[in-house]
């Protein structure tokens, strides 16, 4: 069987409506061949619908979907060279592990021996050799997940889809399996679209992330650029933690803006903003706590301080509102009511348009 190799996926102005509800609204993006792209967003943002449109389980109401440059918009799932790993794994409970994995080639009409050979190969790849004769109900959650991956891999699809594949695993296992998925994707050079609502998971595995909100794409880009240069308050808040503070842009010159945060003025990349009201997203680790009375810093008062092992979570009451600060390393606990000042690190502050 000739291997088709990974293919790109392209959405052109794709929308999905159920009656009056718009689940996906005029979405455009491209997943390059061999790339792992995450669709990230809160529940109900349209990410799973987008994934199901790639699979062909939903047919787009409008727009064009291309896989490997070919228009597949109206093609049914069975006609697309795409496999999917389901959130519930969707293992057929009445078939053994081997029968599950061999299902794709079997329904394609391959001989039993060939189908079994292909299935065994992939089962070995995911480390499940020796489990062929078991039923899914006799496997642990992690093992079931691997069977689902092996089953999706057997036909060597052009595009592999993951729908929140880790949500049924415990926290420790999650980290290991996501690394395995990433390794598998890179070793086999697969095009993967991956849906998750866990921003940490997305940052860890992706080449690129597409952040969705309210049926639209909020921002797409590499994990680092999303974290460091969020386009708006939603992305800033959804990926990592952020203090969103209302500020005033005093003047803009040479791509830099002088921004007043309360009584303090800092210089930030202007990002195309004009003087006037704006907001700044401040990462908690970009806020530095200093002794009271320090000049050029925001005066404040400690409200709460929580000990979390490798860091402290601190809430500080200031003139621009309550700020959330994280201090790493073994620091002393800070008593509530203690007067302090807050100054800003050189990175971790991003100017965003006011809401």
């Amino acid at each position: 069987m000739a291997k088709a190799g990974p293919a790109s996926v392209e959405f052109r102005n794709v929308s999905m409506r159920y009656g009056a509800v718009t689940a996906v609204d005029n979405v455009n993006f491209t997943i390059k061949a061999g790339e792992l792209v995450t669709l990230l967003g809160p529940s109900g943002c349209g990410k799973t619908t987008t994934l199901r449109m790639i699979a062909g389980l939903e047919i787009a109401s409008e727009g064009q979907i291309l896989i490997g440059g070919k228009d597949v918009t109206k093609l049914s799932a069975a006609d697309r060279d795409v496999s999917m790993v389901f959130q519930s794994y969707a293992l057929f409970p009445h078939m053994t592990v081997l029968e599950n994995a061999a299902y794709g080639p079997t329904v394609k009409g391959l001989s039993k021996a060939d189908a079994a050979r292909m299935a065994l190969e992939k089962l070995e790849l995911v480390g499940l050799k020796g489990f062929e004769g078991r039923y899914p109900s006799e496997l642990s959650g992690g093992q079931q997940q691997r069977v689902a991956v092996a089953r999706a891999l057997v036909l060597e699809p052009q595009v592999l889809l993951f729908d929140e594949p880790l949500s049924n695993l415990d926290a420790k296992l999650r980290r290991r399996v996501r690394e395995e998925i990433r390794e598998l994707q890179q070793d086999l050079n697969l095009t993967v679209a991956y849906v998750t609502h866990d921003q940490e998971e997305a940052l860890a595995v992706s080449d690129r992330i597409i952040v969705m909100s309210n049926a639209r794409i909020a921002q797409q880009g590499a994990p680092r650029s999303l974290y460091e240069e969020p386009a708006d308050a939603f992305v800033a808040d959804f990926i990592g933690d952020a203090n969103l503070v209302d500020v005033t842009v005093r003047k803009v010159a040479g791509g830099h803006a002088d921004v007043s945060i309360g009584s303090v003025t800092v210089s930030l990349p202007a990002r195309g903003l004009a003087p006037g009201p704006a907001r700044v997203a401040i990462r908690p680790e970009a806020l530095l706590i200093g002794e009271a009375g320090k000049p050029g810093a925001l005066p404040g008062k400690i409200r709460k301080c929580a000990y979390l092992g490798n860091h402290l979570d601190i809430m500080v009451e200031t003139e621009v509102g309550e700020l959330f600060v994280v201090q790493y390393g073994a620091r002393e606990m800070l008593e509530p009511g203690l007067p302090v000042t807050i100054s800003f690190a050189s990175s971790g502050l991003t100017l965003i348009p006011s809401a």
Binding site: L75, A78, P93, Y103, E138, L161
Partner: protein, 735 residues
């Protein structure tokens, strides 16, 4: 054009060019005399008949097929789609146009006949060839729609939807609309709304004679009174029994469960028959009372009391089956919460348990109400002068005063009643059920019943259970004694009359019951798999596919729940007695009647089964390149085995016990067991009737066992994750 589409074309052409177009009398596989003139003559194919000029109006149908054939090698998907849609649509329209326009001499639709160029012509009812042609055209249309991207472009799905819609339209909507039409026309077939109104307002239907003077009330009131009483009593008994079994330490849980199966495998009028043998003028109990206490024999049983008693005995187990599910569904922790808040047992029952039960109770009442309305056997056997709609319809059709219009009007009224009840059930109760079975473990213990309710319930159900036991004892014993009530000499005479086999000359089935018994078994065995197949397929389409008009289809299948058997029977003889579909008197109409009568049961158990199977399993199969049909066959069906068993069992059993629909449709050649037994009852041969009934009950038990063995269990490994939470709710056996 996909290979499947070519197959559809082939089916169409086989039907059009090879098979006999019309239904030929005397068709058989052993003697081929009816084929003598083939391909011309009465067994001719449409192609031959059209070109020889005998039926030129069939030619356009062939042209439509030809149009589709012209694109057989085309790769241009949109073009093929358009061609198939047009060819299929035009072909189907032409098919029905000529079919309904040209029927018997001087009937049909003259102007339409003239339009298709066949003024004054006549043709017999359609047969296998016509059916295959229609199927082929329909598949072409559906495939064309699939090429357009309907139903995600899945050929199987669109075809299945098309076939189901055609079948429901042809065998449910068409006959029912014929009834409506018959109600609106006079004896000569002319539209006569005044005649309808006159018949509708007739005093025999709505008269209030029983209130104002000493005559009988109208048949509509009789039916309503009986139905309300039956609904109330069966609900009370069912509830009492459910509460006792689930909320007290009462023994006999297993036995009660078994008792609920009995009425399902008991032909509906058998209870009435047993009551006659006990309480009739010559019944065992009446005789005892007369001899010991000199209480005169009377005919009190024949009328409202008898029919009500029989119906309560027959339908209370169904109410019990519904209510036990409702009582079980009440989470014990709710009652425990009430108790921890300081409520006593009685207060808890009044303020928590009872309000939660109410929707279920209303449901059980409506079920009993509808069952009673639709019941035909018991009023026929026990009604006496107390006429109800079901029996009055029967006598309007088969009686001396044959009156098709009156039968139609009565059927419309009965249909309106049952549909009304059904509508109330769907609209008002549909989403009012509070009983929840959550996935979360519920560790609470059900609160014991307050003592006064326990006593009240026990007092109510004891006579009922006792009477049921006695009734079944009578059914067992009745066949083995000479004359129940008068002469208790043991005898095998009744069985010999019915089921004697003469071995002197090979095997000769001498007994008078054999012929109807074999027909019944044959018809039940053919219709059960068809019912289960169509029912489960419909359930699959309704739950797993999204398409325009799904709501309509769902409504239509649910609607057929509410059509009483008597109404369907009348509708079938009115609709299928003349071409284009002329199948009365054949075994085929019995099979069709059973399939569409029982289909809702298949649909319901299919929906119940499918709702337990996670939809992502289907999707996983699809993304692994399996077509809908492969998915259905390899993934859904194996997991649906329990639903398949229950659909098969129900339709098999109901085909053997049904009487209301088929009593209109049986013929001398194709008589059915139930119709035969009713005949024996009317002739006063109670012994034979009851012997035959016991044979049926035993045979059905055996049949259920065979079905369970054949289909087998589904295997899910050691730890079954799909828990069968609730057994599929019992289907309302609308008599």
């Amino acid at each position: 054009m996909a290979p499947a589409t070519r197959l559809a074309l082939l089916i169409g052409w086989i039907g059009y060019a090879l098979m006999p177009w019309y239904l030929v009398e005397g068709m058989s596989l052993t003697s081929l005399g009816w084929l003598s003139e083939y391909p011309f003559g009465k067994a001719g194919s449409a192609l031959a008949l059209s070109f020889s000029g005998q039926t030129p109006w069939l030619l356009p149908v062939g042209v439509a097929l030809g149009l589709a054939t012209a694109f057989i090698a085309s790769q241009d998907r949109p073009l093929v789609a358009r061609a198939l849609i047009w060819a299929g649509l035009v072909g189907i329209v032409l098919f029905f146009a000529q079919g309904f326009a040209i029927t018997l001499k001087d009937q049909g639709i003259p102007w339409l006949a003239a339009l298709v160029g066949a003024a004054g012509a006549a043709q017999p009812g359609v047969g296998g060839g016509a059916f295959l042609t229609l199927l082929g055209l329909l598949l072409l249309l559906c495939h064309g729609l699939a090429y357009r991207g309907i139903c995600r472009g899945d050929l199987f799905t669109t075809s299945a939807i098309g076939v189901v819609i055609l079948l429901i339209g042809l065998f449910i909507f068409f006959p029912v609309s014929i009834i409506l039409k018959s109600a609106l026309v006079d004896q000569n077939g002319a539209l006569a709304p005044s005649a309808f109104i006159a018949r509708f307002l007739d005093s025999s239907i709505w008269g209030l004679g029983c209130v104002t003077s000493n005559t009988n009330c109208g048949v509509a009131w009789n039916t309503l009174i009986l139905a309300v009483l039956c609904g109330v009593i069966t609900t009370v008994l069912g509830l009492a029994c459910a509460l006792l079994i689930l909320r007290t330490g009462m023994p006999g849980k297993r036995i009660m469960r078994a008792l609920t199966v009995l009425p399902i495998i008991t032909p509906p009028f058998v209870i009435g028959l047993a009551l006659i043998l006990l309480f009739g003028r010559a019944g065992a109990v009446s005789t005892l009372l007369y001899e010991w206490f000199a209480i005169p024999r009377s005919r009190w049983l024949y009328g409202l009391p008898g029919v009500l008693l029989a119906q309560v005995l027959a339908f209370a187990p169904i109410a019990f089956l519904v209510l036990i599910g409702v009582v079980q569904g009440i989470s014990p922790s709710l009652e425990e919460a009430s108790q921890t808040l300081g409520a006593r047992r009685w207060q808890t029952f009044r303020t928590v348990t009872w309000p939660l039960l109410k929707p279920g109770i209303a449901n059980a009442f409506l079920l009993g109400f509808v069952e009673s309305m639709a019941d035909f056997g018991n009023p026929l056997v026990l009604g006496g002068n107390y006429e109800v709609l079901a029996t009055k319809i029967f006598f309007a059709v088969v009686g001396a005063s044959y009156n098709q219009g009156q039968a139609a009007v009565l059927a419309v009224i009965l249909l309106a009643f049952t549909l009304g009840a059904f509508w109330v059930q769907q609209r008002w109760l549909g989403d009012k059920s509070y009983t929840t079975v959550t996935g979360k473990g519920d560790a609470g213990l059900p609160t014991p019943l307050p003592r006064r309710i326990t006593w009240l319930s026990a007092t109510l159900i004891l006579p009922w259970v006792a009477l049921t036991v006695v009734i079944y004892a009578v059914i067992v014993v009745g066949g083995f004694v000479r004359n129940m009530g008068r002469d208790f000499t043991p005898t095998l005479e009744h069985y010999r009359t019915g089921f004697a086999i003469d071995f002197s000359n090979g095997i000769f089935f001498e007994g008078s019951a054999w012929s109807s018994f074999f027909t019944t078994v044959k018809v039940a065995a053919i219709s059960a798999p068809l019912t289960a197949g169509i029912g489960l397929l419909t359930a699959y389409l309704l739950t797993r596919q999204r398409f325009r008009g799904r709501g309509m289809l769902e409504f239509a299948t649910m609607l057929s729940f509410a059509i009483p058997g008597t109404v369907l029977g009348v509708a079938y003889i009115l609709a299928f007695n003349v071409p284009p579909v002329e199948i009365t008197g054949t075994g085929l109409i019995l099979v069709i009647a059973f399939v569409f009568r029982n289909m809702p049961v298949g649909v319901r158990s299919g929906i119940a089964g499918l709702s337990q199977i996670d939809k992502s399993l289907d999707e996983a199969s699809t993304t692994l390149r399996a077509r809908s049909f492969t998915t259905l066959w390899r993934v859904v069906l194996p997991l649906l085995k329990p639903a398949l068993v229950s659909a098969l069992v129900y339709s098999f059993v109901r085909s053997m016990t049904a009487v209301s629909a088929v009593i209109f449709l049986v013929s001398a050649e194709y008589n059915l067991a139930t119709a035969y037994i009713v005949g024996r009852v009317e002739a006063g041969e109670f012994g034979l009737a009851i012997a035959y009934s016991s044979v049926l009950i035993v045979f059905m038990t055996f049949g259920i066992g065979v079905i369970q063995l054949t289909v087998g269990e589904r295997k899910l490994g050691r730890r079954t994750r799909i828990a069968t939470i609730a057994a599929p709710a019992p289907a309302p056996a609308v008599g």
